[in-house]
Structures are given as C-alpha cells and as structure tokens.
C-alpha cells in the first residue's frame, strides 16, 4: 500500500487538489432551474476572506504603481510638456467667462426646478452625493471585467452603488474592502442595467458580451433604431439614476437565438478600457442645501399666503353677496316654509319645480318658436309680443311654486 502512494503520489496530490477545488466551487453556485446555475450574489465568509487576502496583497503595490505614474505624469505635464500652454490658457479663460454667464442662468433655472419639484413631491432620483475615486487595478482576467478603486469602507461605500464618470456610467460596486472596492463594469457579461433609447423610448437591458462590448438585449426588432441614437439609463434597476448617458447605438444585429429580437451594440460614452477617475454615487435621495431649504420654505410661505388671500376674497364676496339686493323678492314667502305646528306633517309641500333655462326673445317668432305651441290662442308672433310690456326674462321666468296664503 505504501508503494502505491509513493508511486502515484503526484497523481494523488493532483486529484486531491482538484477535488478540493471542485467541492469549493460546488458550494459557490446554486441551481437556477432549467438545468442552469447561477453564482451566489454574495460571497460566503470563507470566499470573502480569500478575496480580502488577495486584495490586501495586490492593492498596496498597485497603489504604488498608480501613484508613481501620477507623479511622473504630474512632473512631465507641469514642468516639461508646456507647449502651447499660453495660448490654451487664453482660450480657456475666454471659455470660463462664457460659461460663467451660462452657469448663472442655468443655476437660476435649476433652483427653480428643484423648488417646484419639492413642492410637487417629485420623487425622481437625482445625484446628491458622490465620492471621487481613482481606479488602481483590474482583475487581470479577460472574462472578468472588474476593476478596483482606492476608496472602500473608509468612505462608507456599499455594494450596488453606481459608479460613473463625467462621460457616462461605468459600473456598480460589487464588493467593498476596508480601503478599496471592487467595481463590476457595465461591459461584463454578468452585469445588467436598465436603459432607454432617447428618441424612440425603447427600453432594454444593457450588458457586456464576450469581447467586452456593450449590447442591449431583449428588444423586439424595430426599424426606428438607428446608429447614433443616444442611450440613457432608464432608472428602473434601482442602481443608476434615470437619464445618465450610457453611450450611442453603434449597430443593430439580429439575435442569433431568437428571430424576432435584435441586439443593439452600444458604443460606451465612458472610456471603459482606460478608466482613471470615477465618481461613486453614494446618495440619490433628495437632499437640499441650506440655501435651497430656505428657498423652499419661502416658496411654501408664499403659497400659504396666496391661499389665505384667496380665502379672504371668497369670504368678502360672500358678505357682499348677502348685503346686495338679490333677484328674489325678500318679502316673498319661502318656497318650502317649515311646517307649522298643527299642520299635518304627512301633507308634504308641493315639490319645487327646478328652474328652467332662460330663453332669449325670438326676433321673428313663428309657430315653431318656443311657447307658441303652448299659447295657440295668442297666435304666431304674439308669444314675445312687446304688447305684454314685460321683459323676456320675466316671460320666460320659471314657474314659481304655488303661493300659499298664510
């Protein structure tokens, strides 16, 4: 027996290590039905520990490399490569002056918009807090489009926070470590983001393919989708706020598996291959600054004062209406006077006839004129005859309730 182990020790060691890893893999996946499996979205404590060790070993050298690169670039760009800087400076100064004017106008609009949205209870998600971070490394694997940023739990980052750049969305945080975080890029096969095409308003799911290209899947064939159309986040995935740029349609191809569907290839707005600085969206809840809160309060106060003024006006008009003489004869008895004592309560007063609409006088009355049929003796043209000496309104006044003699 001893010779067997000695003779086949290489194979036995290989088998033992393979079996151990296979068992470890089996513990990380679960059945998703239809013969397919899926990875656990959250790592177990053991797996997380291994990832933590690996990250702790790789991150410090990556930081050193990254900082060295930044330092070299800084020295080069600020002390050596200064060609055309004076001209650029002048151009930029002009641009700044122009943008200041535009910004002042836009700021007013933005504040007004926020005030109105707050007043209307608008629940749209906006980016209210971000954390800037530097990308320091990647997974190094062709099949895993993840990268690491230099901020982690120390900056209160959490899984599923959206990661963007000024150009567009980049990914979401998958795992957070003490001083770093792992970001799953949107061009990974396992990522997913709800998107909408800006012009056609067609919605779909964005994910990556084997080559790390972006594609929108699950769209019914539609001829309106043309290259160049802007793709935005739809906001339905609870990760990316609505309306962030994703990219532009590059081309449309048929879904190889389903005839009626197409895949829309998207050129990303952000440079996913060369990411340096990113922003992590840490809050999308409406949170206004002090000044904005004051503005909103002032607006609310104005709104309350206006409502109060309207109420005052209504009250005053009612008082005036009571004081002014009305059309009804104040001396006339009420249409439905209260039953007097002694009267039979069972004898109900005659029901009030609803008022009929007032008719305008007929200029050339004939037998079809209103009232002509009712008064045949008067003959045509007498229904509204001036002989009566009464106004048309009086003529066409609704029949009043029968008078009761007291």
């Amino acid at each position: 027996m001893e010779s067997f182990f000695v003779r086949y020790r290489n194979l036995l060691v290989l088998l033992a290590i393979l079996v151990a890893q296979i068992i470890g893999l089996a513990m990380q996946v679960r059945r998703a039905g239809a013969g397919r499996s899926t990875l656990d979205s959250h790592d177990s404590s053991g797996v997380r520990l291994i990832r933590l060790w690996a990250e702790a070993l790789v991150s410090p050298p990556e930081r050193v490399i990254h900082n060295t690169k930044l330092g070299i670039l800084h020295v080069w760009n600020n002390y050596f490569y200064l060609r055309n800087v004076r001209q650029q400076n002048q151009d930029l100064q002009k641009t700044i002056d122009r943008l200041r004017l535009e910004q002042a106008a836009l700021l007013e609009d933005a504040r007004q918009g926020q005030r109105l949205q707050a007043l209307l209870g608008f629940q749209e998600k906006y980016i209210y807090a971000t954390v800037a971070a530097q990308a320091i490394g990647t997974s190094g694997s062709e099949q895993s489009h993840v990268f690491y940023i230099d901020k982690g739990e120390d900056y209160h980052l959490k899984p599923d926070m959206a990661v963007i750049t000024g150009d567009g969305i980049v990914g979401k945080i998958r795992d957070v470590f003490p001083h770093t975080a792992q970001v799953l890029a949107i061009n990974d096969q396992t990522s997913g983001a709800g998107v909408i095409l800006q012009t056609t308003r067609i919605r779909g799911i964005l994910r990556g393919n084997a080559d790390g290209q972006l594609m929108i899947v699950g769209i019914l064939a539609d001829e309106r989708i043309q290259p160049g159309e802007v793709v935005l986040t739809a906001g339905g995935d609870l990760i990316f706020p609505r309306g962030l740029p994703v990219g532009a349609v590059e081309k449309v191809i048929r879904d190889p598996d389903r005839d009626a569907f197409i895949d829309v290839m998207v050129k990303p707005a952000a440079h996913l291959d060369r990411i340096d600085e990113v922003l992590v969206i840490t809050s999308t809840q409406p949170r206004f600054s002090d000044q904005q809160q004051k503005d909103i309060a002032a607006s609310e106060a104005v709104k309350g004062a206006e409502a109060e003024a309207i109420q005052e006006q209504l009250k005053a008009s009612q008082i005036n209406a009571e004081r002014l003489p009305g059309l009804a004869d104040p001396n006339a008895p009420a249409a439905n006077p209260p039953a007097k004592p002694g009267e039979n309560p069972g004898q109900a007063a005659p029901a009030a006839v609803p008022p009929a609409p007032k008719l305008l006088p007929t200029l050339h009355p004939d037998r079809f004129s209103p009232g002509a049929a009712l008064t045949p003796d008067t003959g045509a043209g007498t229904s509204a005859s001036p002989k009566t000496g009464t106004s048309s309104s009086q003529q066409s006044a609704p029949p009043s309730a029968p008078r009761r003699n007291p």
Partner: protein
C-alpha cells in the same frame, strides 16, 4: 525535440531559486496582470501568472510543486475577479502538473520548445476554464476563441523574453 531520460534530467537540471523568488515573482506577475489592462486596455493579450506557473513547473520538474503553485496562483487570480474561486485554480493546477510532467522528459532550455509549450498550455488552460465554467458549473459564458488564440501567442512571446530573465535568478552551484 530532444527526449532524454527522466532521471537524468531530474538529477542534472532541476532549477533552484531563493525562497523569496517563489513568492515574489508570482506576486509581481499577478500585480502586473492586474495593472496592465489599465495601460493596454482590451489588448492585454497575455497571462503572466500562467507564464510564471509554466516556468516554475518546467524548471522545478516536480509535478507536486507545479500543481501546488498552479493552484495557488489560479485561486489568487479568481479571488481578484468576480468569478467563483476555483475556476482558474483548476485550470492552472492542471497546467502546472502537465508542465512539470513534460519538463521531466524534454529539454526545456530550447526556445522553440518553450514557445510551443506556452502556446499549447495556454490554450489548454483556456479550454479547462471554459469546461469548468460551462459544463461543471453550468453557468452561462460567451466565449471568443480568437482572443484566447491571441493570448496564447502573447504568452509565447512573453515567455521568450521572461524565461531567460528568470533563469538569472537561479541558484548556481
């Protein structure tokens, strides 16, 4: 390809390195592999940890050591990715074992053999990765063999440059 007796090669040409090299070189390979895509973008057609695994397995000519080093490096790579831990581990374990087993029988100092071995073992590693991912785990994964071919070529070229450099770290009697 010059075939030699297994015992002869084992006794005469087992490469020995300072202990630090066994830890430091794989770590540098892993760090560079994680950092290079930031510079080269989508054109990072190389797998430095695999090249290092093959190098040490060939040099040490010990299947057990090759297996262990392959497993450790592969698991480390998996830990940096978002895949299940063990996919790369199994692929590189097999590659380490095979490289060491082959290293016993052939002259690994020959440049042509080095290039050929790196090319074939890179493709084998990709195939094992795909097998584990799709068949063993039943997970969906789109695959592009052309990229894997480029990576295999890249590994072969890198091996041509890297192997002589690493040979300088050997302990010479």
């Amino acid at each position: 390809m010059s075939l030699l007796g297994a015992n002869f090669r084992r006794d005469m040409e087992i490469h020995r390195y300072p202990l630090l090299v066994y830890g430091l070189i794989p770590l540098i390979a892993l760090v560079l592999q994680a950092w290079l895509p930031r510079v080269l973008g989508a054109y990072t057609w190389l797998d430095l940890p695999l090249v290092v695994t093959i190098y040490f397995a060939l040099g040490r000519r010990s299947p057990i050591q090759g297996t262990l080093m392959g497993a450790a490096i592969g698991i480390f790579e998996d830990a940096l990715s978002h895949h299940a831990i063990g996919v790369n581990g199994i692929a590189k374990t097999a590659v380490g074992f095979l490289a060491a087993s082959v290293g016993i029988r052939i002259d690994v100092e020959n440049f042509t053999i080095r290039v050929l071995l790196n090319f074939l073992l890179s493709l084998l590693s990709s195939a094992i990765f795909l097998f584990v991912y799709r068949v063993l785990l039943g997970l969906d994964l789109e695959w592009n063999w052309l990229t894997q071919l480029f990576i295999a070529i890249g590994n072969s070229v890198i091996a041509l440059v890297l192997f002589p450099l690493l040979d300088r770290l050997q302990i010479r009697d």
